[in-house]
């Protein structure tokens, strides 16, 4: 048995047609296949006449038939395009999806811009100024409930520093006091001064502006001014480094200015006096910062953990170690926590479903359905920055707010805005046309409340694009639980569409 070349080509051409038919929508495929099969038969008859010899092939004719079959792909694509559901343009009327998105973007811009004017917000938005923040731990007495109150004695600090340590490889101590500081050509001023160990800034990894290494070797106490004091009290003098001021009864040399917003430890400080241990008073309470030796095991402990340590009086005491990473990202933690709370509370304020849709009678294209969900996601994505920035703006609106007050304000504001924002987002979505995402208008009351058990009463809204009607029940019943969307069929188009205009049609 031998294969006739003509049969081989015929089979190849039909295979080409079969491939092209896969591009045709399923409903039209059968008729399309029938037409092309018939046409190819006639083309073959016209182009490849029988020669009577089984091995004879008209190469030119076969080429022409193949070229004819390749045209089927263009036809199939054309048919596919014709029967593709048309994408409905987004509504451009008042309250359109675009306007909603632009409004939210505007809110983000305003709240962020306001935040840039507030020093507290600026500080929160900046990254941590410390070196190796994760391993820098603030150590407090475990019984101490307020981390703004000093709880570590200088004796305890001395004991830790003098003993060989397994956990930490560096300690620094500071205590905060109000003191009079005088300068030759200025009136004495009372400042909040942090008396710290000489390695305090080095351990934190902070650099002071205008610092000159030679100033450190002159044998005097060293003082670093805060940016605020330098600007307000010293008139932004660029030659401040090297000046000698009197701190109480002692003289200290200004060795630099700390950049704004770098101090994230307890206490609002105007200046830092770095003292050698020999100059530090033997008694008193303060704060201790320690650097944890980096290790995989320590990473697993997290940002807050307890430790037990011997005290100078031979007793054991519990201490709480809090990573500075937790302190520097506290506002972010509060924000995430309030989102979680708001999500839990949301079902109590509004129903979560977006309404009933009669999908069986009117199948929306997947792109339209996806667009609707994308809009909801977009609103959520834009709402969260608004919540974050507005809550920060209000929490740090005044510089006099204590850190604890700011935390509480941020928590309350963030939770409130997030909860009502999510509620608005869902309600807004329910009051939009699922096809063009335009805001539904023309509310009309329908039904009679007195006949609730015989009929139904509620509100009807309409899409000005003519895509449908929304029925919102006044009272939820077992047969009408939630709002219902009714698609309008094309027979209603005449009420909404504009008459066609002259057009040039290119069929080629």
């Amino acid at each position: 048995m031998s294969l006739r070349p003509a049969l081989f080509f015929q089979g190849s051409h039909l295979a080409l047609l079969r491939c092209a038919s896969l591009l045709v929508p399923r409903r039209q495929r059968e008729e399309w296949w029938k037409e092309w099969q018939s046409e190819v038969w006639h083309v073959r008859q016209a182009r490849t006449p029988e020669h009577g010899v089984w091995w004879s092939v008209s190469w030119q004719g076969e080429q022409e038939v193949a070229a004819f079959c390749l045209g089927a792909f263009q036809d199939a694509l054309c048919l596919r395009q014709q029967h593709r559901p048309k994408a409905v343009p987004l509504a451009t009327t008042m309250g359109s999806a675009m306007q909603c998105v632009l409004f939210l973007i505007g809110l983000i811009a305003v709240s962020y811009g306001l935040g840039l004017l507030l020093p507290g917000v600026q500080r929160e938005l900046q990254s941590s100024p410390y070196r190796d923040t994760k391993n820098l731990m603030l150590i407090q007495d475990a019984q101490n409930t307020d981390d703004a109150i000093p709880s570590i004695s200088t004796e305890q600090f001395g004991a830790w520093k003098s003993q060989r340590q397994k956990l930490f490889d560096g300690f620094a101590f500071y205590r905060v006091e109000r003191e009079a500081v005088s300068w030759p050509s200025h009136l004495p001023m009372t400042l909040t001064v942090a008396h710290g160990s000489s390695n305090l800034f080095d351990l934190l990894g902070l650099d002071a502006r205008f610092a000159n290494p030679e100033d450190r070797s002159r044998g005097l106490l060293q003082i670093i001014l805060s940016d605020e004091v330098w600007k307000n009290r010293f008139g932004q003098d660029p030659h401040i480094a090297g000046a000698v001021v009197r701190d109480g009864l002692r003289e200290a040399m200004v060795i630099g200015v700390a950049p704004s917003g770098v101090w994230r430890l307890p206490g609002k400080v105007d200046a830092w006096v770095l003292e050698p241990e020999t100059e530090a008073p033997p008694v008193g309470l303060g704060f201790v910062v320690a650097h944890l030796k980096p290790s995989a095991e320590h990473d697993r402990w997290g940002e807050r953990w307890r430790m037990s340590s011997l005290t100078p009086h031979s007793g054991a005491q519990d201490f709480l170690c809090v990573s500075l990473a937790e302190r520097t990202h506290r506002s972010w933690g509060i924000f995430l926590f309030t989102i979680f709370l708001a999500c839990l509370s949301l079902p109590a304020t509004t129903s979560l479903p977006l309404g009933e849709y009669r999908v069986h009678s009117h199948r929306l294209p997947w792109s339209t359905r996806l667009r609707r969900w994308a809009f909801l996601g977009c609103k959520l994505a834009l709402l969260l920055p608004v919540v974050y920035f507005v809550s920060l703006d209000l929490a740090y609106l005044r510089v006099t707010f204590s850190p604890v007050s700011s935390d509480y304000i941020q928590m309350v504001v963030s939770f409130s805005i997030c909860l009502f924002g999510l509620r608005w987002m869902l309600r807004d979505q329910r009051q939009r046309c699922p096809v063009c995402l335009g805001k539904l208008t023309h509310p009309a009351r329908v039904g009679e409340p007195s006949r609730n058990f015989l009929g139904w009463n509620g509100m009807e809204l309409i899409c000005v694009g003519g895509h449908g009607l929304l029925h919102v029940p006044e009272i939820q019943t077992s047969w009408f639980g939630t709002q219902r969307w009714l698609y309008l069929d094309p027979s209603w188009d005449v009420l909404f569409t504009e008459s066609g205009l002259a057009s040039v049609v290119d069929y080629g």
Partner: protein
């Protein structure tokens, strides 16, 4: 309100060919010299816009001639009006495909 449809030269040529009696795709191709990838999609669009309509040949006729049945195209009333307008727009159209060459369907 009537819609004035201005056809491209290719579409007008195909419409003229159908009117001249070339009533199936392959014959339109042969008459106009256009490839199948142009003729068949154009005829689909013309049919969509109701300028032509198609009908299947009776199976008995095809069986008698021992061939598969063909799909024939015919101008609609709107198609004839549009063709008239196109002839004014493209004066050489009637000379390219003369209506005298009408073949029986």
């Amino acid at each position: 309100m009537t819609v004035e449809m201005k056809l491209s030269h290719t579409a007008a040529m195909i419409l003229q060919a159908v009117n001249a009696g070339y009533v199936y795709g392959f014959s339109v191709m042969e008459m106009t010299g256009l490839p199948s990838g142009t003729v068949y999609p154009a005829m689909r669009r013309l049919e969509r816009d109701e300028l032509i309509r198609s009908s299947w040949e009776q199976q008995s006729i095809a069986d008698a001639e021992q061939r598969p049945p063909r799909k024939y195209y015919k101008l609609t009333k709107a198609g004839k009006a549009t063709l008239e307008a196109s002839r004014k727009r493209y004066p050489l159209l009637a000379k390219l495909i003369s209506s005298e060459e009408v073949k029986p369907a």
